[in-house]
Homo-oligomer: 466 residues x 2
Amino acid sequence: MKKWLFFPLFVIAGVSAGAQQEDSVMIKRISDEILTHGKAYENLRHLTKKIGGRLAGSPGMVKAEQWGLKTMQESGADKAWLQECMVPHWVRGGKDEMWCSQIVSNKNPKMPDARLMRKDLDVIALGNSIGTGKAGIAAEVLLVNSFDELEAKKDLVKDKIVFYNYKFNDTYVQTFLAYRDAGQYRGQGPSRAAKYGAKAVIVRSMSHAADNNPHTGATRYDSAYAKIPAVAIGLRDADWLSEQAAKGTVKVSLKTNGHFLPDTIGHNVIGELKGSEFPDEIIVVGGHLDSWDNCEGAHDDGAGCVQTMEILRAFKAIGYTPKRTIRFVLFANEENGLRGGNKYAEEAKAKGEKHIFAIESDAGGFTPRSLGFTLPDDKFAKVLQWKPLIAPYGCTEFLKGGGGADIGPLARTQGTPTGSLNPDSQRYFDIHHARSDVFEAVNKRELELGAVNMAAIIYLIDKYGL
Amino acid sequence: MKKWLFFPLFVIAGVSAGAQQEDSVMIKRISDEILTHGKAYENLRHLTKKIGGRLAGSPGMVKAEQWGLKTMQESGADKAWLQECMVPHWVRGGKDEMWCSQIVSNKNPKMPDARLMRKDLDVIALGNSIGTGKAGIAAEVLLVNSFDELEAKKDLVKDKIVFYNYKFNDTYVQTFLAYRDAGQYRGQGPSRAAKYGAKAVIVRSMSHAADNNPHTGATRYDSAYAKIPAVAIGLRDADWLSEQAAKGTVKVSLKTNGHFLPDTIGHNVIGELKGSEFPDEIIVVGGHLDSWDNCEGAHDDGAGCVQTMEILRAFKAIGYTPKRTIRFVLFANEENGLRGGNKYAEEAKAKGEKHIFAIESDAGGFTPRSLGFTLPDDKFAKVLQWKPLIAPYGCTEFLKGGGGADIGPLARTQGTPTGSLNPDSQRYFDIHHARSDVFEAVNKRELELGAVNMAAIIYLIDKYGL
């Protein structure tokens, strides 16, 4: 099956055949270096297995920053440093617990179903959520399948625990669309239920996994309403709970301990290769170093971090000296604050730095499929000409629209053109923010190919400008 | 990230906008049906967990045929039947064993390294290979890294066990190229070593997995030379053995029991939807039902089988009546004989059946990336116009060149145009023909999307002809 050619024959307007050939050979060298001597996989093993979860403010994040700085230096940075920023410091505070404590059958309130019972459910508090207090909360469950249903039942909400059983939409081939769709229940669900007097909320996990792992992620309280505890449950438990709710009245008990400590110090980790011709033109490539506390943060976003440093290592290993300055950035606090991305953009602005392009890998370490770009049309047309050079390595599509949370502030405050690596998305929400986001879920070659594709586009933008 | 449009706007020459819209809607219906009510994953669970390995002639294959027939009927075939063919009946005959029994150091033949020792290596006999006999074979290892090196060392081969340590080439982004490259050592290695008097051969597994599982697969003896036993070892053991061989003289002991029993009866499993307008024009879709005995054959090729039956189920579920006859075929004996594929083509020819297209899924149940076609240029141009209709579901590329082992005989004997589903190939050779090819390695949505993409191209060829 000869599907991809390594030296594609095509014509790029304004670029000589010799330059094309040179670019093709250079990208093949980068790819060969990464696929045969890559350190990304072993670096990821260290980050996930020796350090593990690393939420902003946690000891894990402090260790990860030190490891990142050292690895950046070992990978060959001309200069590497920590960029300080204040970060929120949310802690889980203990084990999250939820159990079903009573089910009263509609059909026959005096039958055995009505007895006191305890069935534990697999639950995890949402990030940034408040705890229940030591006494916990016990209340009747009000199941709603959507916000529309919540509004229709608003008079029933008071003193209940609202269970948003909104299903992840399997019909979206692009799973990020399903995530954006369902994600609003995690983000807005607590405050929208609190508005009508709910005591707490449960959300169905944003996943189509076949397992029962609950998926966390940040929630956002609307200051207009009371803050109430919020948890997620896995899909099997969500199905079970909805079956019980259909039969009668269900009461659950909830104990969570989440709370904020005072803001603390965190750091972006930055490595740099100084440009030989245009040192003041900066290209950024990055991922985020923080992760949720309930997992190893392997795909989200250990993958993006080790890919970032792998590009640095590969450039040095093949002796490539960039014309422009390339910054390799491991951002702090993407998950619950974005303080790292904001800090980076703020300092860049204060120093009057000129960022010509920033690209982020934060969609998992899966097999690469496309590169996305947020660029003016003329620049997109320029980039699009390079597609035949990169397609043989996996990114067979160049799409309009690309960026990432951490480089968003650069785009917003300075109009920096942005891009993203888009790996295949089918497996991502099986493990996203769940305990199954571990090293073993990452495939070595898929991870490495992500680095290859980003290295290739950085090489071309470095060489030809943007 | 809005990357794929569900209703792409484009113009297909000669096809009205209304027809395009109708096709787009129909393909979306097929996709929604498969992604929300799909049975492929649960069918695969049954095939792998309740039946398991199913080499031609084995009890597993007999059970799989009966299950396949029943599932074909349950999926809604107008007619389903078993097509008998004689199949080879190779059996492993017991546990394969290999251990390193002596290492004599070059540097100091009298030092402790020279002592008798036993280190077991993880080994598996190659399919179709003969056994060592009960006494086993003990001989010195001759390591060669290539056939060139074998030829250069041909005078040293006599009475040795030749160890082909040829490395799977990591630099091929398309892993099937690395497989084709390294695969010749499994296929030709035994006879080429036997030519110079070797007693047995060991091949390095054709894989870039991070584990030590040995990978089997068929070997082929050249009748000009003696048949000698042949085994594969995993990558870690291959590295260890090559390190020892570099230090001195290594002797290994080998016990394998492979042998052929008389040919026996096997079956292709065939389901059919009769065409309403052109019943004599037949479209085939299939995978192969047999697998190696050392695994569950989940990706190879349980995936292709359950995808095939899923297309049938989905067509029936949405009430689609094909214009042409569609045959859903689970082929017998792809792994070590191809008797099923040959039989199907033979009978088609004998009956004067007209096959207008045949497509196969036999590259794993991973996320779909492209469809390949072996067609005359005018027909390829016709098919290429449909790409925008299918790309939103994963196959963003339509490539020249496509087919499969089982439909090869149809192409060769009757010139049938063929195609293949090409899923992402990065993970395939981690598990191919190894004990790790199990149900758990298959992702539900990736498997289903493979069925969606094949269903879409079959729908279009059925509607518009080829």
